[in-house]
């Protein structure tokens, strides 16, 4: 082949260029796969889908509560895998008017003989209501330490937005409590979760 006139010796484009572009695309798509993680969180945060409630809410204007509407807010509490705590809402449900701040408590008890730290992860249903459920104070914003045998009541302050679509009359807020290990170990880990 070497002695023949090499007709393919001068391809229209160099292979190196094509390979370079292809490899760059492959690396770019690998990065894109990871970029989907924050993109997904941002997307869920903006649209409120997936029941992910947003972080601490600061009310910008004082508006009176809408006394004409009553929304039933139900609370669920459950433990993650291998979580030994007693965890339940003090009241199973409350009736609120849109626009008024309401405080409810969750009871937590560490029945084990070791100090533990827990993290609660919220989820709201129906997801269309997520954007209209504001938490001004929540135990889920931080990790919760409890010494062995200790119990506590953890507060949640929330406001249901006056703009809540009229077809929604009931909201269900569910918390799942996860074991974050020993207090010392937990301090080394991230202490808050963005979308607490």
């Amino acid at each position: 082949m070497a002695e023949q006139p090499a007709n393919n010796a001068a391809p229209q484009r160099s292979n190196a260029r094509v390979v370079g572009w292809c490899l760059a695309s492959a690396v770019g798509m690998f990065a894109f796969g990871f970029a989907l993680v924050p993109l997904y969180d941002v997307f869920c945060d903006i649209t409120g889908i997936n029941g992910k409630t947003s972080g601490r809410y600061v009310s910008t204007e004082r508006t009176a509560a809408d006394m004409t509407r009553t929304i039933k807010v139900q609370f669920l509490a459950q433990n993650g895998p291998d979580m030994p705590w007693v965890f339940r809402p003090v009241a199973r449900s409350v009736e609120v008017h849109p626009g008024e701040a309401t405080t409810v408590n969750f009871y937590a008890e560490n029945p084990t003989d070791r100090d533990m730290v827990a993290q609660a992860v919220p989820s709201l249903s129906p997801s269309e209501g997520t954007l209209y459920f504001h938490k001004t104070e929540c135990f889920c914003f931080n990790q919760q330490p409890l010494a062995a045998g200790e119990s506590t009541e953890m507060p949640l302050v929330f406001i249901v937005d006056r703009d809540l679509p009229s077809y929604i009359t009931k909201l269900t807020l569910s918390y799942t409590l996860y074991d974050q290990g020993e207090p010392q170990a937990a301090v080394l880990r991230t202490t808050t979760i963005d979308n607490g």
């Binding site: 393919n8 484009r13 390979v19 798509m29 690998f30 894109f32 997936n50």
Partner: protein, 527 residues
């Protein structure tokens, strides 16, 4: 290219080296294509054996042969081996053999990388199959390996599975780069893009899909690896992650992947139907654009696999309509194949039989896909045997029949002998009947509510399952006949001329049969 050609001439003296080093060190596209095809068929038999275990267990209700844990390993490994070990390498093998011959190139653009990308595959599958013998067993979470089933609850061998996927991904990406470089740089003078054979076109688009999505698959298994071994929480709700994210990233890869497994078959069938209809392909340009449109749309439909996870109504509507839209370019293709046959002088040699069965049965699979795409109806079909029936109808008579049709079509070119036509037709009819018997009853089972991936089922599903198992045994054992036909054809048989098919067009039919070790050292002129 010239540097490669020089070393080639010095090393090999215009012929294959002898002994095992020929196969280990070869940079010849025909050798590598052959190795890919042999590897693929080996994996097809292995994955098929696992399917036989599954069908044997489901022959009757109750647990007879295997335990549920092992059954789950079988469904998982069957899926992984068939997708990544049988179908994808078979198409890469066909690409290696046929693309240089079809575009008048002396070899692939990057012959050494070609060798490497092949030899990575046996390594990857050795690792994957070895998990069957590990403590805790092989992966048992289904081929879609949803988190947290595969992360928090996966067996210890999951890390080996992840590594095997990484190696397969590297192999596929290198194969795709090679195909793109070959097609873009090495076409014979005069062969413009719109004169390229359909098989080359479909593979070019498939290669772009591979480069776009295999890295995403590598990314998602890397996230799993980090969740399992390095304490991250990509998919772990306890640490702020989200298991649903896994499904989004996986199906962003997964949906284009199903087109990766079918587009090259579209291409091959677009050669076979015109050949045996003795007419040129109807609507060549629309075929090219249809494949391009399918490839583009494949990136916008991934969430139709996830309607039941709680996608908002607007999202369900978007993904439903986008999915239904794919039926348009696919319909164009089916119409063109039928129009090609219309008023043609048809003969029904084995490749044509497989190609016609491809068109009909793939359309059935397409229709059940449309049923699944309808979001409100999908809530009933989701994760039932209806889904199993659907994707087996697009993959078995789609991808696999496409590969069989291609193999029979080009065997005379590869071996220099005609295959045994009687045995070939027997293979077709047994496969056709067996396949339909195995998979058609699954539609009814799914609609009646039988869930997928279970080793045992309620009594009312017994009869259809027995029919399905008998069909599966028939289809499975028939594939040994294919092995016999190929071995017989390699060893001897009626001599094949350069163009053994009366109506075949294309550069590959201008070289002698069997194709010499080196072809198109001087590029042909394309008018």
């Amino acid at each position: 290219m010239s540097a490669v050609a020089d070393t080639h001439a010095q090393d090999h003296h215009h012929g294959p080296a002898s002994g095992i080093s020929r196969w280990l060190l070869t940079t010849n596209h025909k050798d590598i294509g052959t190795m890919y095809l042999i590897f693929s068929f080996t994996m097809f038999l292995l994955g098929g054996t696992m399917a036989m275990v599954i069908r044997a267990e489901l022959f009757q209700p109750g647990l007879q042969i295997v335990q549920p844990e092992f059954f789950n390993q079988m469904t998982t490994m069957h899926g992984l081996i068939m997708v990544f070990g049988a179908v994808m390498p078979a198409f890469v093998g066909l690409a290696n053999w046929m693309i240089p011959l079809m575009i008048g190139a002396p070899d692939m653009a990057l012959p050494r990388m070609n060798n490497w990308s092949f030899w990575l595959l046996p390594c990857a599958f050795l690792i994957l199959v070895s998990t069957l013998f590990m403590e805790g067993g092989a992966p048992n979470f289904g081929w879609t390996f949803y988190a947290p089933l595969s992360t928090t609850y996966g067996p210890p061998s999951t890390t080996f599975f992840i590594f095997a996927i990484h190696i397969m991904g590297v192999s596929s990406i290198m194969g795709a780069i090679n195909v793109i470089a070959t097609i873009l740089n090495m076409r014979a003078p005069g062969m413009t893009l719109m004169k390229m054979p359909m098989f080359v076109w479909t593979w070019l688009i498939t290669a772009f899909l591979l480069i776009a999505v295999m890295p995403v698959l590598a990314g998602v298994v890397t996230m799993m690896l980090m969740d399992i071994n390095f304490g991250t929480s990509f998919f772990n709700a306890a640490g702020g992650g989200d298991p649903v994210l896994f499904q989004h990233v996986f199906w962003f890869f997964g949906h284009p992947e199903v087109y990766i497994m079918i587009l090259p078959a579209f291409g091959a069938v677009s050669h076979i139907i015109p050949t045996f209809s003795r007419k040129p392909l109807f609507g060549y340009a629309s075929m090219v654009y249809a494949v391009g449109a399918i490839a583009m749309l494949s990136f916008l439909v991934w969430a139709h696999h996830m309607f039941t996870v709680g996608v908002p109504v607007a999202g369900q509507l978007f993904f439903m309509y986008a999915t239904l839209l794919i039926a348009v370019p696919t319909g164009v293709k089916v119409f063109n194949w039928v129009a090609t046959m219309f008023r043609g002088s048809l003969t029904f040699e084995t490749p044509m039989l497989f190609a016609i069965a491809f068109v009909i049965l793939f359309s059935i699979g397409g229709f059940s896909g449309l049923m699944l795409a309808i979001a409100p109806a999908d809530f009933q079909y989701h994760d039932t045997y209806f889904v199993v029936a659907h994707f087996h109808y697009v993959l078995v008579p789609g991808a696999i029949f496409g590969i069989f049709a291609s193999a029979y079509f080009w065997l005379p070119k590869w071996t220099g002998h005609m295959y045994d036509e009687t045995l070939g037709k027997t293979h077709f009819w047994l496969s056709f009947v067996g396949m339909n018997m195995a998979f058609f009853p699954m539609h009814f089972l799914g609609l009646a509510g039988m869930p997928r991936r279970i080793p045992d089922y309620a009594l009312q599903f017994a009869d259809f399952n027995m029919v399905s198992s008998i069909g599966a045994f028939m289809f499975g054992s028939t594939q040994l006949l294919f092995l016999l036909i190929v071995v017989k054809c390699v060893r001897g048989g009626e001599k094949a001329s350069a163009n053994p098919w009366e109506g075949a067009e294309g550069l590959e039919w201008t070289v002698p049969s069997p194709a010499p070790y080196h072809t198109f050292s001087t590029p042909p002129e394309v008018k």
